[in-house]
């Protein structure tokens, strides 16, 4: 149930939550840059955000996403590596990230040890995501400030 304040802030709270989650994922990718058989993961941001904001549009999940991500199912079937990563997630509540939106990255060049983390790619994604996070924060902040101006009238 959304309150009117949620409506007032728009999509930004959900975006903020998603960006925090994505930062966590990217941090995990960067921390495991030298771990054998680690498979880099990322969030299909567009799909996740539209799912979180409840306007799941089938057309918006595909197409123009800049990130090349692959479904977890096809990844697990395609690579018989001993990574042993299985995303068995259930019970994502409203605003949470459904585990189906967390996907494995398609490596540009595969490493011999089975690691698929591209350090430069993750770094730039992390930097971009941090800026997005701060932007969302800014949007919420200014909306709240507007609200305070309306309440106090000064």
């Amino acid at each position: 149930m959304r309150t009117s304040l949620d409506n007032y802030l728009g999509i930004h709270p959900q975006a903020l939550q998603l960006e925090a989650k994505r930062n966590e994922l990217l941090a995990a990718n960067l921390a495991n840059v030298d771990t054998p058989n680690y498979k880099a993961r990322d969030i299909d941001f567009k799909a996740a955000l539209s799912a979180a904001s409840g306007e799941s549009n089938a057309a918006s999940s595909g197409g123009s996403s800049a990130l090349t991500l692959r479904n977890t199912e096809s990844s697990a079937a395609g690579t018989a590596a001993a990574g042993g990563v299985s995303a068995t997630g259930t019970g994502a509540s409203d605003g949470d990230i459904d585990s189906s939106t967390v996907k494995y990255r398609v490596p540009m060049a595969s490493a011999l040890d089975g690691n698929t983390v591209d350090e430069q790619l993750e770094q730039s994604a992390f930097a971009e995501n941090s800026v997005r996070y701060q932007a969302s924060l800014q949007f919420i902040n200014s909306a709240l400030r507007d609200l305070m101006t309306a309440i106090t009238g000064s």
Binding site: Q17, A20, K21, N23, E24, L25, L26, A27, A28, L30, A31, N32, V33, D34, T35, P36, N37, Y38, R41, V85, A87, T88, G89, T90, G91, A92, D96, I97, D98, S99, V102, E119, Q123, F126, A127, S130, Y133, Q134, L137, I140, N141, L144
Partner: protein, 141 residues
């Protein structure tokens, strides 16, 4: 949702990389520690990294982040290098001494890789901290 997990993740990466730096330092320091007994010579050590998936059962989204752990230190089983050096007091009956199987060039490359990864983790930590401090100030001023 605990946003503080990002500190654990970056911290685990940093500690893993510093273990790696330690082994590199140990290997480089002992690169010339010769011995008269081929079974007793220093062997190059390398840490084994493993991803530790978020272990909270039943919560799907917690499975998706991974810390790093060092599961052990492996010793290289490559044969030690045999050097003919009869003047060395450690030389055996054939006049040979045995040098460690440390590849110095490999170790240097490993050192650079470890320190770069460490810097990455520090960067992640700093950025996350700044973001969290900004979030704490949400709605103020």
């Amino acid at each position: 949702m605990s946003s503080f997990k990002i500190f654990d993740i970056a911290g685990s990466g940093m500690s893993a990389q510093s273990v790696r730096l330690n082994t590199v330092a140990s290997n480089l320091a002992n690169a010339d520690s010769v011995s008269g007994d081929p079974n007793n010579v220093y062997k190059a050590k390398h840490p084994i990294f493993q991803a530790v998936m978020g272990s909270v059962a039943g919560l799907g989204h917690d499975q998706s982040t991974a810390q790093v752990s060092v599961t052990g230190i492996s010793e290289s089983q490559a044969a030690p290098e045999t050097r003919y050096d009869p003047g060395n007091p450690l030389a055996d009956a054939q006049g040979n001494v045995y040098a460690p199987n440390v590849n110095v060039v490999e170790e240097m490359a490993d050192m650079i890789s470890a320190s770069r990864s460490y810097q990455n983790d520090v960067e992640v930590l700093n950025t996350s901290r700044d973001m969290m401090l900004a979030t704490l100030k949400l709605g103020q001023s």
